[in-house]
Every structure is written in C-alpha cells, then in structure tokens.
C-alpha cells in the first residue's frame, strides 16, 4: 500500500469519531495567553524535584488555575515494570475525577481492547489541602501498561482495509481512537467530567491538575521519579470560575506531549482544518489544537520534524530567500498546503516526545519551537561534562526565563556532582529563520550503549557546544604548597595579572588564587577590592587555557558568596548586609553600599525586592549590591527622577523590566538580563555583561546602555530622544523599529551594533553577519545605527525605512567615546574593533551608518512647513 493510500485510510478510519449531529464550531471557554514553561532533557535520568524551584520561581507566569508536567524516558522499576514493558507497552494514564466510574472505564476501554501487563497506582498526598492553594481535589491517577489484543488489531485492519501496512502505526491509531472514545464518554467539556486520559504514548507520562505546575510534582509525590525529558507548565486561563484538570497543559497527541505559552488568533480555522480530517478537540483550548496538528503532521503524515516545524512556523520574507532553492520549493509547498493549520499569533511550544521503536534505538526528545515573529520569551541552555571514560553527561533546557533554568541547574548540581550551577551556553531561537529555523531539539538516544544527548536545530544541524575543555571536578582541592597573598594593587591591574596567569593554570591553581581572594576579604577594608576583582573575573571574557568558563564562574560565585557571608557576619564600614525580614538599615556613610540577598523577596508586589530597594533608597542608600537574584522584576524602578549617583550592581539572574524608568541611576548586571529592560529609560547608564531579552529599551528617551552580548527581538522599539547604545553581539530581529531619536549628530540617539561573538577560547570573533534579521530600522524616523560591517554583509533589503548613509569623521567622533567606554567595561578595545582579518582599518571602512529614509508620505506637508517657516517675517 502506498503512503498516500495508507494515510487516506488511516484518516478514513476516524470517520467513526465524528460527533453525532455534525461538527459544531468550538467556542473556546478558556482564553489564555501567558504561561510559564520549562523543559529539560538529559543524557541522565533526572528527578522531577529539580523542576520544583524553577516552577516556583516562575509562578508569576501562571495563576494557579492549571499546572502540569510531562516526563519521557522513565525508569522501569519506579513504575514496577520491566524495561521491555516500559518500551513496548502503551502507558495509559487515566485521571479519575469520579473514582466511581473506574470499573466502567476499565471494562470498556482498558480490558476490552488491551492486554494489561501492569497497573500502577499513582501515589498522591492523602489530603490535597496540604497544598494550601489547591482549591479542587486533583484526580486520582491509574497508570496502565498495555498491549493491544491481536484480534483488535486484526479487526481494525480488516475493517479499514489497512492490509500490508506498518503494524505499529495502526496500533498507535487504535490507541488514539480508544482514548478519544473514552474521553467523549467520560469527559464532556460542557457536561459531566468523570475521567479522561492524561497520556497514552510509550514511555511518556503526563500529570496535570488545577493548581501550579510545582503543585503537581508535590501532590503526586513524584519528586523522586526520574526521566530523561521533563516539561513543566503553569497556566494562566482568564475565563471561568470553575476549572478542570482536563484544561491544563500538557496536551497529548500520541507519543508527544505539548505545553504552550501564548495563544492563536486562528484557533477556529485550525479546528476546521482538523475537523476536515476527523480530528475533534475535546478540551476547548488552542494548545490541544496545536498538539493535534503536530500529531497529524508527524505521526499520520509522517513528516520529518523539520517539515512539521516549517508547517507550524513558516520561514518568511528575507529568510525564505536565503534558503537553498531546493528547500524553498519544499517549504513553499508545505506553506501552501498547511497554511490553515499554522498557528497565527504569539506562541512558544515545548514538546516532550518519545519514539521507543526508532531504528537506532529508543529516543526521547525535548523540542522548543517559537513562532515566526518570536512574540513569546524563550531561552535555551546547555551544559556538558566529558567523563574520564569519554562518555558525556549532558543536559539541555528550554524555558520562558533564564532564571528558571538557573534554578533547575542549581538544584540538580546540589544532588548530582556531575552537574554544576552554571550552564555552558545560553541562546535564543530566531523564529522562522534560515539560520536556526526557530527551533531546537534535544534528543536523547543511546550511543555505544549509553544514552547521549544531541542538540540540533530545525535543519538537523548539530549546535556547537563548548565541550573541549574539561569541566571542574567536584572535590578538586587547592594546589598543595602554593599560597597566594593578594597584593594591594588596583583590581584592574590584579585582574590583568590573573588573566595572564589563568591560561596556564589548572583548576587547583585557580582555586588557590580564588581562595586567596576569599582570605583577603576577611579583612573588611579589603572587601571592596576583592569584590571588584571577583566582578571583573565574572564579567570579562578572556583566554582561560584548558579551563571551562562555566566551571570558573561557579568557583567565582562560591567565593563571592563567602565574601557576602563575611559581610553578613562582620560588616565593616564599606558594606552593610540586608535581607528580607531584617530591620531596614540606615547608611553609616554616603558611600556605604548595602548588600541585599534577594532570595527572601517576591518578584513583584509589596514584598518585592524592587519595593525594598525603593525603601532603602529613601533611607539614604545610593550604592546597592544585589546578590542571588532569581527572576526578581522591576529592579531599580520607581526611584523617581534625578537619581544620578545611584548605582546598582546585580548578581544572579535578575528578572524583567530591570532599570525601567531610570533617570540618572546606573545599573550593572553581571550576568544576562531578561526581558523588557530599561523601558522608557530617561537618563543614566545600564551595563549588561551578557545578553538582553525582548523589547530592550522600549520607548526609551535617553541614557547610555552597553550590552556585551546579543539583544533578542525589538530592541529600542519606539525609542525617542537620545538613547545611546552599544550592542556588541547581534540582535535577532526588528532592531530599532520606529526609532525616532532625532539626528545623532545634533544630540539625538543611536545604536552601535558590533556583530561580535566569543569563540571557544573566549576570544572576540566577528559573526558571519552583524545582523541576520529582515527588519532593521523598520519605520524609523530618527536616530542612526552604526553597524560594524566591514564586509558589507547587511543588505538594503534588510532595511525597511532606512538607508545607508556616509560614515563621516563627525560620526566617528560621536561614537568613539562610547566605544572607549565599551572597551573599559568589556575589554573590547577600539583597535580590536577596527581590526578586520588581522588588518587595521579606518573607522569608515569598518562601520556603516544607517539613517532613516525620508518620510515620503509627508513630503508635501514638510515642504509647506519649511516654506511657512521661511516666510515668517511677520512680527509675533
């Protein structure tokens, strides 16, 4: 039977599922936009407990009305089965809201079609009220490990004329349809809700309920259940007073579970599309529709993942034209055929997927896919250690917020010595792009008999990961006999010395040096010096020889924590320690800095870190050192106007809106920043020693900003006035959309985009192109972009409202001081910037200037006004 026939017959077999009285257009009863998501995939089987802290910290992305988890690649004995059963049987997890229907469900939908190899009763807390925010008792869950009865398969094949076909695909379809029937019998979205299937794939488990994602882990007591792949979700439904677990994420196809942050505008159209293929969503949310599309394309149509992703998030505009001709043809067909099932709107999907019968052995996968316009926050991360036997222990993440990843990794590192708290790499996907396709896949599969993790983009290309240098081994000790006393030289000189030494050091020697720093900090008056030094070590990228940056960072973090402990125990005159619950201190002197442990503060509201900072500012503090930030939002907001002289140094993972509204103050982030930094910034300075997220400096009016790494989507959108910004990396798309920052040569604003990255040896390298996106300077009417583009890679078709202008001496004199400051902050010298392929060049040969085109629509008016001004001889 050819593929086409097979698919047709498979779809035809679903006709029996058609609702009586015809398909009725679904009215979603739960609108939801936002959600918090995290996923992790590892070569190791990791415990669910490591998602707890991440989910707790992201609770502000949900509202407690739906939470769920999915796990793939489970441990057989934790479910009382053999490996053979786990991999070959369907794992059918049924949620019973009404335990009274269990006998009926089992009789009709479990025992009738299936041979049951094992039943696992999912444990749960005795009393759901032990979790205070739970309003509804979560369902009881029974997990059935089943095979389909041979006669059922035979009958199905005969009935639907599916002869000589791949039997397993028929089996999948039988399970799928059985679940549909079970759900329609026992779970009516508008009526009785007694039982429904949580998941039915192989080696894949979903648990969900009305609550937060972390509540699921606690209630079902799965803290110590292990899996290769986990995803977790908080839901934020906005409608309805009564919620049901069926509406929570993840939703299932067959061998995949999907969680989603965002919503679609074309839920109705996709539902129609599915109905035409006899697929009828039951839970009335767009997320369920999304996973049904995924399942249709992947399982029924048998598309490779790349094509599934293309159908969901089409490659458009310039990115499309950058694809090879062959790919363009295929993609065009995909887009044309599947336009009606392509979710339109902001979305970020995390998918846990299993394929226990893959030709090269069982496979467990985490996929993160963003919409073409990248309208939801998303961040990916990776960490890997090569063991002595050559095997690699790896973990990959995808999440809404970096801080969630940090929390998971920190938790994991606490219990498993092979991991450490700092990821090797963080990055973003560029939606619908020719560069990475806006999707990353973390695939766990056996290599040489042991599970290994591979990271690939949409196109199946391996993502380069820094693995050649060894990671620090736990228990590494200081080099014996070596002692370092830290000299009283300025931190910059000391740093210069250490940076010269580090390439030749082993971890033990680095440790000796770092503990020397900690030793020096015992003396209170040396602490500022030590902190400055540690900060430089954390911030700066420089050659570190055979060491791993993420490992060194872990050591620096630990040393900094020691110094903070010292300040807490024995404050000197330079610093005072403060944390939640302590009495608000008063500064002993103008320059005394307050060190704040962020951990006890909430991310927002009255008990937030941001509010406490405002109170400390009112109490007279102007120097702030924030440590252990975990997604705390609004840092430095609300200080009001004229805050020159205020400085905040931020360590850890600060949250969204940092520095927004700043008018004079200075914020230094010694890490990556998250989303919406420095909105409406008026004046002052923001320095980020890493990347920044979405809509950086939205509506800014002024101020200086320096970013060591990349900006995600839409930096500087609607910025006016005179913001002056240096971004050393690149930007995903929509840089300086609607930029209105006057004439930079006459006091207006600009962005310098350097297009740099760091290679594995932490050396500065130029990116292939300083700007990969298609929308540079869209609709801009003022300001300028100075892009370091010596090979003229940025093309006119990337500008939408801008034009290349001559890079003059005056332009260089304008940006030079900012590049000098950039050099001082990040160690990227102007000489390095002007060096291309080893040759020194003139600024005008390296930088290109982009100015707004004339605003054509208004030329008539402008001319009129110019004339009117010229005419103005009348006395006023």
């Amino acid at each position: 039977m050819n593929t086409h026939d097979f698919i047709s017959k498979l779809l035809a077999s679903r006709r029996a599922l058609r609702p009586e009285g015809g398909f009725e257009f679904p009215h979603p009863d739960a609108a939801e936009g936002g959600c918090g998501v995290i996923g992790m995939a590892s070569s190791e089987q990791v415990a669910a407990r490591h998602m707890l802290q991440a989910l707790i910290q992201m609770r502000n992305r949900g509202n407690g009305k739906g939470g769920g988890i999915a796990a793939a690649g489970l441990v057989p004995k934790e479910f009382g089965v053999t490996r053979e059963i786990l991999e070959n049987d369907y794992l059918i997890a049924v949620a019973y809201m009404d335990p009274g229907v269990r006998a009926q469900v089992e009789k009709d939908f479990i025992r009738k079609p299936f041979i049951v190899d094992h039943v696992h009763e999912q444990k749960h807390l005795k009393d759901f009220r032990a979790i205070p925010e739970l309003e509804v008792r979560p369902p009881d869950v029974a997990i059935y490990f089943v095979r389909i009865k041979p006669k059922v398969i035979k009958d199905f094949m005969a009935e639907h004329d599916l002869l000589n076909v791949e039997r397993r695909r028929v089996e999948d379809e039988i399970v799928y349809q059985n679940t549909y029937k079970l759900n329609t019998t026992f779970y009516q979205s508008t009526g009785d809700k007694q039982a429904f299937v949580l998941s039915h794939g192989k080696n894949l488990l979903v648990l969900k309920m009305v609550g937060y994602g972390d509540d699921v882990i606690k209630y079902y007591r799965i803290e110590d259940i292990h899996a290769h792949v986990w995803i977790g979700h908080h839901r934020y439904p906005t409608k309805g007073r009564v919620w049901h677990p069926g509406g929570a994420h993840p939703f299932i196809g067959l061998n995949e579970a999907l969680v989603h942050n965002g919503d679609f505008a074309n839920h109705a159209s996709i539902s129609e599309y599915l109905a035409q293929r006899d697929i009828y969503p039951l839970f009335l949310t767009d997320t369920e529709v999304a996973v049904q599309v995924f399942d249709l394309l992947h399982r029924t149509y048998n598309y490779p993942l790349e094509y599934v992703i293309e159908a969901l998030a089409p490659t458009t505009e310039r990115d499309f034209h950058r694809l090879p001709a062959e790919k363009q043809r295929t993609y065009e067909m995909l887009q044309t055929t599947h336009m009606h099932c392509s979710p339109d709107g902001p979305w970020f999907f995390l998918i846990a997927q299993t394929d226990t019968h893959a030709p090269s052995g069982p496979l467990y996968r985490l996929a993160g896919i963003t919409d073409t316009s990248m309208l939801r926050p998303q961040v990916f991360a990776f960490q890997e250690r090569a063991l002595e036997n050559g095997r690699k222990v790896s973990i990959g993440f995808a999440a809404s917020e970096k801080q969630g990843i940090d929390a998971a990794l920190e938790s994991l590192a606490e219990s498993d010595k092979r991991f450490w708290p700092r990821a090797d790499r963080f990055w973003n996907a560029r939606g619908g792009s020719h560069t990475d396709g806006g999707a990353f896949l973390f695939t766990v599969q056996a290599e040489n008999g042991k599970p290994a993790l591979a990271v690939t983009d949409k196109f199946g290309r391996r993502v380069p990961t820094p693995t050649s240098t060894p990671a620090l081994k736990r228990g590494t000790r200081r080099a014996p006999g070596l002692s370092v006393s830290i000299p009283d030289v300025p931190a910059a000189s000391l740093f210069k010395w250490a940076a010269g030494q580090l390439p030749g050091w082993k971890y033990s020697e680095a440790l000796t040096f770092i503990s020397g720093l900690a030793q020096a900090a015992v003396e209170p008056k040396k602490r500022r010096h030590v902190i400055d030094m540690l900060t430089l070590l954390i911030d700066r990228r420089h050659s570190i020889g055979n060491l791993r940056r993420s490992s060194l960072l872990t050591l620096y973090d630990a040393c900094l924590a020691d110094v903070i402990d010292m300040i807490q125990r024995d404050p000197g005159s330079d610093f005072i320690f403060h944390r939640a619950g302590m009495k608000l201190p008063v500064p002993a002197s103008k320059k005394q800095a307050v060190v704040i442990d962020a951990r006890g503060y909430s991310p927002q509201d009255e008990t937030s870190l941001a509010r406490e900072l405002q109170r400390l500012y009112e109490a007279g503090f102007t120097q702030f050192m924030l440590v252990n930030c975990r997604g705390h939002r609004f840092i430095g907001n609300g200080f009001g106007p004229d805050t020159k002289g205020v400085r905040l140094d931020v360590y850890g993972s600060p949250g969204d809106y940092l520095g927004s509204g700043a008018d004079g103050l200075e914020v230094h982030v010694h890490n990556n920043g998250q989303d919406q930094l420095a909105q409406i910034m008026k004046s002052g300075k923001l320095v980020v020693h890493g990347d920044v997220g979405q809509t950086f400096m939205y509506g800014a009016k002024g101020g200086e900003a320096y970013v060591l790494g990349n900006a995600a989507g839409r930096p500087l959108i609607n910025a006016v006035g005179k913001p002056r910004v240096v971004i050393n990396g690149t930007c995903l798309d929509y840089l300086a959309e609607s930029f209105m920052a006057g004439d930079p040569l006459n006091g207006g604003g600009f962005v310098v985009l350097n297009g740099l990255a760091f290679d594995e040896n932490n050396a500065v390298v130029s990116l292939d192109t300083p700007y990969p996106g298609g929308n540079l300077f869209s609709l801009a009417s003022g300001g300028a972009i100075y892009v370091r583009d010596p090979h003229a890679r940025v093309a006119a078709d990337q500008l939408n409202g801008g034009r290349f202008a001559e890079m003059t001496e005056a332009d260089w004199l304008l940006i030079e001081p900012y590049l000098e400051e950039n050099a001082r902050l990040f160690g990227i010298s102007i000489d390095r910037l002007l060096t291309v392929d080893g040759q020194a060049h003139q600024p005008a040969e390296v930088y290109r200037k982009i100015r707004p085109s004339e605003v054509r629509a208004l030329q008539a008016e402008e001319a009129w006004i110019h004339k009117a001004i010229a005419r103005r001889g009348v006395k006023r």
Binding site: G34, Q604, F634, R714, S738, A857, E861
Partner: protein, 434 residues
C-alpha cells in the same frame, strides 16, 4: 492700547476668539460663510448646537433643538427609556445620587469616588492644544472628576491639576516617565482605541510641531506612530507584569485598562480584572475625532451597545461585577447616551468629543492637520491655539457638566430611581425605537 499697537497675529486671534465666544452667531457675517461643516447623522447639527447651548447656559435647550439623540438610525439613536407614567415620577426635589466609586476591588488603595459618572477621555498634547488640556483639567478639578493626558506627555502646566489627571501609558510610551506615573492617582493602560483598534495611535507630521516633539522627545514634523500592540505585552500574563511595573513605580495608583471592543471583549475584561485593574474602560467604535481613518472608524470593533451588556453579564457570571468599575466610551454625545450606557451595564462614561464640541468644535474633521482646526482645538499651532483660553474653556465644560448632571437626575427621577448605581445593568428600562 490702540489697534495700531497690535500685531496682525494678535488681531487675528482677537477676531476668532470673539467669534468663537459668541457661539458662532457672528460667524456668517464676519467670515462671509457658515461655519465649516455642521455635523453628520451621528453628531447632527441639532446635537452640536444643543451642546453649544448647554456649554453656554448650563442646561439643555428649551426650544425645538434636539439634544438627546442623533439621526444615525442605529446605536443609541434607536434606544429610548421606558419612563414611568408621570404620576409615578419622583418629586423634583428628590435627592439623587450620581456619584461613582472608581475603586471597588476592596484593596487598600484610595477609594476614589467621582460626583457624577463621567470623566474626560485621553486626548494627547499634540492631538489637542495645551489650552484645551488645561480647560479640561480645570473643569475636572472643579467637579472632582478626571481628565486624561492621552499619550503625548504631561505638559508642565497640568501638574497643578495632577489630582484630577489620569496618566496614560500607551503603546508608544510617548512622554511616559516615572514622575508622570508617580503624579497620577489613576494610571490608564491604553491597549487600543475603539475608533481605530489594531492601528495604534498616530499623530501626522504637521501636528508634530516643535513643542509637541519636544515633549515627546521626537523629531519635529515627522509623523509619530504608536505601535499596535504593546510589543512587551502579548498575553494576559505579560499584561499582569505590565501592571505590576506601574504598581512598583507608583504603588498608590489605581489602574485603568482601556481596550477596544473585539469579539472576545468579555474575556479581555475578566482578564484585566484578574490582572489587577480597578477600571475596565471599553472604547467602542462610534468615537474618535477626524484623525482616525474613516475606514477604521466605521468598520472595526463591536458596537459599544453590544459590548457593554456582554461584558456586564460576563462579569456577573464570574461574580466579580461589583469588584470592578466599567467605563464606556466611544461616541457618547449626550446625557442621554450616558444614561443609556449605564442602563446597558456600564458604571459610567468617558467623554471626549462632546467636550471639544462644547468648546466650539463643529465636527469638520480636519483634526489631523496641524493648522486644520479652525477653532484652535485640535492644534498646537501657536497662533490657532490661542483661540481657546483655559478659563473660558473650563467654564464651557462646567456648564456642559452641569447640564448633564441635571438631565441625568431628571432621567433617574422619571425612572423612579434614586441613584445612578440603580440604573446600572437595567436594559429592561430601555426600549428599541428603530
């Protein structure tokens, strides 16, 4: 001072001001032509003239001028009240309560109440002149209600009236600064405008004068577009974060969320409430000055008279109706319109255009041009804007509000109700007369 001492400009201002203040009675003889345009089916000549009359006298016209409805053949023009028989009307001296609480959340924030169920909608500096803003602010202060900055910054002269000025945070963030947020007792998030949902805001080039662009910190004479939507808000959880941001900056402010009326407006309202809104402001499609594109004004968004009951019923079913204030706007022209939106389920109304009409607007729809407004309202031209003096403008608005209050009380009396709150959500008191 003799005429010879005056510059040409001063003379022009004097002439136009005199004409404007005379309520256009002298317009024809002085200008040799009738005033440009005089309304349309929605804002009829009668409604414009009766609004002027009210602005001059503080009560509705007693002659044949129609001051209650227009002739659009739809919307509020085909709704009327089922008044009681005259014998059952409440006596004329009955005390009637028009006051409206704006904070019903039961939180610890200020319990702001306004003495009549209306406040002024957002009109930015740039779209209207500073003099118009001041007129509105003075009137708002006089009544103890509010006016809104719209999205164009906060002229310094308004600071004096900050207790009666709502600061708008809109998608372009023009003129939004921490101090403007901190000034405000109410901060309004403008997600969309009913007159042009999905189009953002726009101020065309020749209105972006030197002074306008200074306050917005943009380039003079270049069109300014506010994007649609907030690019930092693509979902309700982002919205909550957005609200949290403003609350961190000004923890005392009440939060108003201004949205247009899409088909899922009910869900938007509920979502806004759960994200912390005190006021949900529904902006329907009948409003907007001449600057909103015709195609948008007439074709997008759900008519407000459909949106209000829908939101009202949904909030009731969610059992949160009495925890949030619903304000309606978009083509609310008269006291009768105000009463109708309240009967449909809103708590109060936000008015904009009728205030401009009170100050002399004839609805000639030249608003998008910098020097297009013959009456010096929707302009920041230094000459034209002198036609309106804030004291005069405030007086006109005060009269209009007085007239509205009288009419609202009268309507309630004839319905046998003693407070505006009793009228809310009583569509049974309305009848269709189309």
């Amino acid at each position: 001072m003799s005429l010879a001492d005056k510059s040409v400009f001063e003379l022009i201002v004097e002439k136009h001001t005199a004409n404007l203040h005379a309520g256009f009675r002298r317009w024809s003889e002085e200008m040799g032509a009738p005033p440009p345009a005089l309304g349309d089916y929605r804002w009829t000549d009668d409604l414009i003239l009766s609004t002027w009359y009210q602005a001059a006298h503080g009560h509705p016209p007693q002659d044949r001028l129609e001051y209650r409805v227009g002739r659009s053949g739809g919307g509020f023009d085909v709704l009327d009240f089922n008044f009681l028989p005259e014998s059952q009307w409440l006596p004329e001296n009955t005390e009637i309560d028009l006051s409206l609480p704006l904070n019903r959340r039961g939180d610890h924030l200020e319990k702001i109440s306004i003495p009549l169920p209306i406040y002024g909608g957002g009109m930015s500096y740039g779209s209207v002149s500073e003099q118009v803003m001041l007129s509105r602010a003075r009137n708002a202060a006089h009544w103890g209600t509010f006016t809104s900055t719209g999205e164009g910054g906060y002229p310094r002269s308004l600071t004096e009236y900050k207790d009666n000025v709502i600061t708008q945070v809109a998608t372009g963030m023009f003129g939004v600064r921490e101090e403007t947020i901190q000034n405000a007792r109410i901060v309004e998030f403008k997600y969309a405008q009913g007159a042009k949902p999905g189009l953002g805001g726009h101020l065309l080039g020749d209105k972006a004068t030197q002074t306008v662009s200074e306050i917005r910190e943009s380039v003079p004479w270049v069109s300014l577009f506010s994007p649609f939507p907030f690019h930092s808000v693509y979902s309700v959880e982002d919205h909550r974060k957005h609200v949290d941001w403003i609350k961190q900056t000004n923890p005392r402010a009440l939060v108003s969320v201004k949205v247009s009326t899409p088909t899922d407006v009910d869900m938007v309202a509920v979502g806004s409430y759960f994200a912390g809104a005190h006021i949900v402001h529904l902006d329907g499609s009948y409003g907007g000055t001449g600057a909103a594109p015709e195609i948008a004004k007439k074709n997008i968004a759900m008519p407000i008279e459909f949106a209000i009951p829908r939101v009202h019923r949904y909030l009731l079913s969610e059992e949160i109706r009495d925890r949030v204030t619903v304000m309606a706007s978009g083509g609310i022209r008269t006291a009768w319109d105000i009463a109708k939106v309240i009967a449909l389920g809103a708590d109060g109304a936000v008015i904009g255009t009728s205030e401009l009409v009170a100050m002399g607007c004839t609805r000639c729809s030249n608003c998008e041009r910098g020097r297009g407004c013959p009456f010096g309202l929707t302009t920041t031209d230094p000459l034209l804007s002198q036609f309106v003096q804030p004291d005069w403008g405030a007086e006109r608005l005060n009269n209009l509000y007085t007239s509205y209050a009288t009419q609202l009380k009268d309507i309630l009396r004839r319905l046998g109700l003693r407070s505006i709150a009793e009228l809310r959500g009583r569509p049974d008191l309305l009848k269709y007369v189309g």
